[in-house]
Point group: C2
Chain length 205, copies 2
DNA sequence: CAATCAATCTTGACACTGTCAAAATACAAG
DNA sequence: CTTGTATTTTGACAGTGTCAAGATTGATTG
């Protein structure tokens, strides 16, 4: 199974080199393919070609590894947000883009999304400081976007924080109903979320 | 540990009597106290005072038991719905009651709610026919309520199905953000959901 | 009352999981 | 070459779901 039983000259790696990175990558693949709950440290170690407990030198826990994966997810989503906030579309379209981007991110990477916003990490409230910070930053960023749209008069609501929470709740809820399989026709998710847009947008005159 | 090692005259129960019911009750308690993922068939058997594999005579699976629990949850929620739909309040208040009842049900029984609407059961798409039916019935019931409110002109939207899905998505999303621990101040959930109400309600003239 | 039978429950076993402690290996610095 | 440190492995343990086979019971016959 493992290639390096007979040490070859090119790379007789007892030392793997960049095990931490490899573990994260392999874990991401395994999770994307078979779901979070199907990930075991032993299968992961097998896939990377390393022994069962090797991961414990880079992650204190299975939970710690999952937190690192989630943090990576937040970084990806953050760059999507940055990209979106610096384009030149009119505000209304920008808002629509934001909503669609959120749903696209969630449905295209359902397991990563579940890791970022699901109970697996947050319920046990044992999340890494790294994850704590990046997730907080991202949320803050989103609140600011909503805040600006609200000051423009594009979207409704009294408190911008409350509005942001409600909008987030709606997107999160719709996404999760599909991700978790309560709804099973994923092709309909865009329709639903678009039909939700008028609720947020202020009545145009 | 077990009382019935020495068979007493009162009840030398090798046969438990109503094991299925007892298992469901104990499982519900264990889950409510320690969460779904902490439930093991062996701890459950211990709590009921029976051997590890006894449950397999009443449930084909652990999944089957969880489905039965979820089905019970739907029955409870269904009766709440019935109770609500036959009261005499004005429609606007009735809608508000519905929204608050939904959130209350979710936050007061978070683990049961997770069982009913969470990935644990629906993702693997191995749900019992009983659960399939009762959940479908319940959802249908809710769509009808929304449908009526929409025909009255109380709430917005074009398609009543889409509107129901969006409203459900919003409630579900807000509830899940709290249940899963993404938000941790549960006392704020009512505020948020109330601030979401104007989005659904048609502008009053 | 005794024998038989089906329902009910238990025991044994297996593969799988996360994780700890101790050993083995490789590489770098002296 | 030796020593030390970073890295990886092996051994072990408790816990999990679940299958197959055996044990126990209450009911149903003759």
């Amino acid at each position: 199974m493992t290639i390096e039983t007979a040490p070859l000259k090119t790379s007789s790696k007892y030392h793997h080199g960049n095990l931490r990175q490899s573990l994260l990558l392999a874990a991401k693949e395994l999770i994307a393919e078979h779901g979070i709950e199907a990930l075991s440290l032993r299968k992961l170690a097998d896939k990377v070609g390393v022994s069962r407990t090797a991961a414990y030198h880079y992650f204190v826990d299975k939970n710690d590894l999952l937190c690192a994966l989630a943090a990576n997810g937040f970084k990806r989503w953050q760059t999507s947000l940055d990209q979106l906030s610096c384009n030149q579309l009119p505000d209304r379209d920008k808002f629509e883009q934001y909503v669609l981007a959120y749903i696209a991110f969630a449905t295209n990477n359902p397991e990563e999304y579940e890791l970022m916003f699901g109970r697996c990490i947050w319920k046990q409230s044992q999340c890494t400081v790294e994850l704590q910070e990046i997730s907080h930053t991202t949320f803050q960023h989103q609140v600011e976007m909503i805040d600006q749209w609200q000051s423009i008069g594009l979207i409704n609501g009294d408190s911008s924080l409350r509005t942001a929470q409600v909008i987030w709740g709606t997107l999160h809820g719709i996404a999760k109903l599909f991700i978790d399989g309560v709804y099973n026709d994923v092709t309909r998710v865009e329709e639903i979320v678009i039909s939700a847009l008028p609720m947020f947008l202020a009545a145009k005159d």
